[in-house]
Symmetry: C2
Subunit: 353 residues, 2 copies
């Protein structure tokens, strides 16, 4: 039997999974910060838990500590263990360093999942905490914690958003149907809205704006929409911004109109993405554009993730996923992470190598 | 308890499933005849079993009877039950009528699955057998028996082969890769060869012949190749037969060269298919052609089944599954019957509505 003060590996994994669940509830609302979850445990009992909810607000560790106090559990803090999905921050940003809060709390053991992707901070928390006699266990459920933080870590390291292309196609690789009917079904559309829920921005081209006049808002996702979630930035990229600006397209007229941007013409796509990251805090960007723009961004190597819905239809037509009769300069391979069937359609999601 | 002479519904289904298994072993070798399986049972014990192996040879019922004699079980025939996947034939063709063999055998109960798709023969066996005091139970495991016979019933009723299109595509609906490498993997190729094993003919266009110089033989199917299986007819359709005839393409030089045909130019596709059915006994025809020919046959409404392998690749290029920038005159919907993942590729098979 393990003593209560030395939890088993299974107990560590169990509580980290709970911290992960909390973190996922924040996915899509924390940018430019990461979604983080934390729980505080003493002798196998939960004293408090918390998650980072939005940039500028308290970090997960401080939320969990506040929860301990709110539940009247503060007397048990001495000797408690903190589980947190990401290495605690050790520097003062918009909020004070979490290591300070831990040091003054009475917590004697810190278990975390992923290391800080910023090389300048990596391991700094470990040193600070250990110097104060706190036991530090890094890397618990690390793959799951890194997956949670994949897009954020990418954006920290590359200075631009993680880009997910979302397409709905026929079996023969076309984006439209003769009948002008949608390719998606009501069921598969919920997956698209779930993706929007997890995104900070959606990018389309002028053609999609003119042809579809989309709202690009989150309406029917699978999960409930958190109160703290803002509608994503809606970005139209066009060669002639003046031709669409101020017109009565839906995204310029609705309640979230102040989060619609018109950009263009674009020479340097990477620079545009960097700008969106720096100025608007965009970590997760979703492409819902037509084939021409999609091809351009694929050719530039700026697309990270690919989500394709394949309807069991043969249509023909001119709206190919990858228009133009030439091969891509470099063939792209999808490392498939998810493939399932929803209402007779195939849903495929993966990472572009 | 049921008396031995009145087997339970479950026993009927059980023995019919065995007859179906036998029949499937003949799938692809019996054309223009159907694959049929039969078992003869008395008091829950198998007396003999058989299947129709190839056109001109004995029918399944006679094979099963012969097996009863070969096993020395003929003394038990009186009062036995015959299970057969298809209504027994009642007319003399290349072989004598099976109803005669049943009447003289001592069998007192006949259970069959599918009815004869030829309206002129439907139910005739029932009347003949019942008049002689034999109990007839039609329609046992009927959906499974009809699925087995689907392509054959179609060819009997329409006078032309059941056509299955087989394509291997990228995610963006292209048939080729920049690198000239195959889209299929070694594993998925076995499924293509399994489909060849079940086909009587494979049709390609002149472009595929010139570009790929394919063998189109059955080499690495999933199931063992039965000794009675001939290589499928290999049919090249081209506007200029004289330009390819007599040239040293693989399919004109190998051991099965006498089963290679060059046809064209084709005005009437339906007539060509009817001719292949009448003159060559083709029931199952497989398309392994390029996009232009595929599109033509889809537009003519001559494709019944669709098998698509989707590789997790984005390629671009000019070899679209459905080339031409126009929509199909009529959008086609696939009723998906099978969707699975093999070595990271999606394999999708279904019926075109």
């Amino acid at each position: 039997m393990n003593k209560p003060s030395e939890p088993s590996v299974n107990a560590d994994a169990f509580w980290m999974q709970r911290a992960l669940q909390l973190a996922y509830r924040s996915y899509g609302t924390t940018s430019p910060n990461p979604p983080v979850g934390a729980v505080i445990i003493r002798d196998g009992r939960l004293l408090g838990e918390g998650r980072h909810i939005c940039a500028g607000g308290p970090h997960a560790e401080r939320q969990a500590l506040a929860d301990v106090y709110a539940r009247g559990n503060s007397e048990y803090l001495r000797g408690a263990t903190l589980y947190v999905t990401l290495e605690p921050c050790s520097s003062v940003g918009r909020t004070p360093a979490c290591t300070d809060a831990i040091l003054s709390s009475g917590i004697t053991r810190v278990v975390y999942g992923a290391v800080d992707p910023d090389k300048r901070h990596q391991g700094r928390a470990d040193a600070l905490l250990r110097a104060a006699g706190i036991t530090v266990c890094p890397g618990v459920e690390r793959p799951a914690c890194e997956l949670l933080l994949r897009s954020w870590a990418f954006s920290v390291q590359q200075g631009r958003p993680w880009v997910t292309a979302k397409v709905a196609t026929t079996l023969d690789g076309h984006l439209t149907r003769r009948s002008e009917r949608f390719i998606s079904t009501a069921e598969t559309l919920r997956y698209a809205h779930e993706l929007r829920l997890r995104s900070d921005a959606i990018l389309i081209g002028g053609g999609t704006l003119r042809h579809d006049n989309p709202a690009l808002t989150i309406r029917t996702p699978l999960s409930p929409i958190p109160v703290e979630k803002k509608q994503p930035w809606r970005i139209v990229v066009t060669r002639q911004p003046e031709a669409v600006q101020g017109r009565d397209y839906r995204m310029f007229c609705d309640a979230a109109a102040e989060r619609s941007l018109v950009v263009g013409p674009v020479q340097d796509w990477k620079a545009l993405l960097q700008q969106l990251h720096e100025e608007r805090g965009v970590v997760n960007l979703m492409l819902e554009c037509g084939g021409r723009l999609l091809r351009r961004l694929l050719e530039e190597g700026l697309v990270n993730e690919w989500m394709q819905e394949i309807a069991p239809l043969l249509s023909g037509g001119k709206d190919a996923v990858l228009p133009g009769d030439s091969f891509l300069p470099q063939e792209l391979r999808l490392r498939v992470e998810q493939c399932r069937e929803i209402s007779g359609h195939i849903l495929l999601r993966g990472i572009l190598a």
